[in-house]
Amino acid sequence: MQQFANPTQFLSLANKALPTIWAVTTILFALGLYGALVTAPPDYQQGETVRIMFVHVPAAWLAMLVYTVMALASAVAIIFRHPLADVAAKTAAPIGAVFCFLALATGSLWGKPMWGAWWVWDARLTSMFVLFLLYVGYIAIWQAIEEPTRAATIARIVALVGVVNIPIIKFSVDWWNSLHQPASVFKMGGPSIAFPMLWPLLVMGLAYTFLFLALHLISIRSEITARKLRNLQIARGEN
């Protein structure tokens, strides 16, 4: 972990790793999309539209994963005072928010052919919507506080309070939904999901993860550069 502490060292490591990461991402997406569009069978009820699942579900996974990454980075920032931890958390948020939005949009598209409505308040979509609001709040707090050190401290608290509440929110939304709507709307078949459907899903999940990794590294890189620029400007102002 120490070797990542020096921003310049981190930058050089990131630059070396990125081409490989992009290559892996491309391969995984190619593989996953092939499995999703070609080899996976259409659903007996939903027909071809079930293929949206291969975009929607991994996006939802990543939305959750990225928030967890943000919270972990915030915890590392507090406990170890690692200089890049705050940067990691800050830059992950917009990417996670986009995944979250993608999950919401594809969830809506998936639902339309089945229920004729552009939006249904089922448990998963509702929880995802609240998660999106948590992302928005986190990003907003970084924008709202001008002083960078203070913004970082406050953002850490926001991320950690959020991550603690996510399971509670999910539990309560699931409960609320079961009160009002007995049947689970998005059928995925749970553990008995057929293998031809399962492996493209997992591959797509991995593909999204590597995509996040690539985008995250690029984002951290720009943030570090922006801070260097700011420090240079401050130093210039003092002379």
């Binding site: 948590l134 709040g137 907003a140 707090i141 709202a144 608290i157 950690l160 603690v164 509670i168 939304v173």
Partner: protein, 219 residues
């Protein structure tokens, strides 16, 4: 401890004298209550069905809108800095101030709301479950609001920001607050127990988070 008691007394006196306490919150509550039938239509059946939810949501908004009062003034006039140098921890100071907010604003609102529900044709047998769930839930509401207030201290557009940050945290309270009013008497006790658990959990989480945020602003 004597100093926390002195702080509680002072905050309650200030809430009573300065306004922004129950009176104003109640005024806001009534205003929204007037707008609802105008927006939804005066049909008694519809209003009755929507009443518990509308009352809960109005309670959430009222607590949130009065939350920036918790720390703002003390921060602006320098009192908060002096409080940070007291023999008691800042966490206990936060807890006391959030508790004062509950006593002066959220609690009175939770007691009044179910009875104001008559304006929305609330079913009589729902009044007591609603009152109990609101009293318990509103403690969590004030505590969670104090987290939001501390995170957005002195920020422009802080009010909007508090809402974005805190309303997601209110979802569980709303869900279980509402589940006590479904009309199924078996649901009442479990819902109230869960609301108490949430209030207790907030009692621990809120002071830790809020004190950490306040320290960042006091630097």
């Amino acid at each position: 401890m004597r100093l926390l008691w002195a702080l509680l007394r002072r905050d309650l006196i200030l809430a009573a004298r300065q306004g922004g306490g129950v009176g104003t919150a109640l005024g806001f509550f009534l205003t929204v209550l007037v707008l609802l039938p105008i927006g939804i239509g005066p049909d008694q059946v519809t209003l009755q069905r929507l009443a518990p939810g509308m009352l809960w949501i109005t309670l959430l908004l009222s607590v949130l809108l009065s939350a920036d009062r918790i720390f703002q003034q003390d921060f602006e006039d320098g009192s908060l800095e002096v409080m940070a140098m007291a023999p008691a921890s800042l966490e206990l100071v936060v807890l006391t101030k959030a508790f004062a907010h509950w006593l002066s604003t959220s609690l009175p609102l939770s007691l009044a709301a179910p009875f104001l529900g008559i304006l929305l044709n609330l079913r009589t047998e729902t009044i007591w479950p609603l009152a109990l769930s609101m009293v318990l839930g509103s403690l969590a509401l004030s505590l969670l609001a104090s987290i939001g207030a501390s995170l957005t201290l002195n920020l422009r557009r802080g009010g909007l920001l508090i809402s974005i940050l805190v309303l997601p945290l209110y979802v569980p309270v709303l869900v279980f607050g509402m589940s006590a009013t479904t009309g199924n008497p078996e649901m009442i006790m479990p819902s109230l127990l869960i609301l108490s658990a949430m209030a207790l959990a907030s009692l621990v989480l809120a002071p830790i988070a809020a004190a950490a945020a306040l320290r960042a602003y006091l630097k």
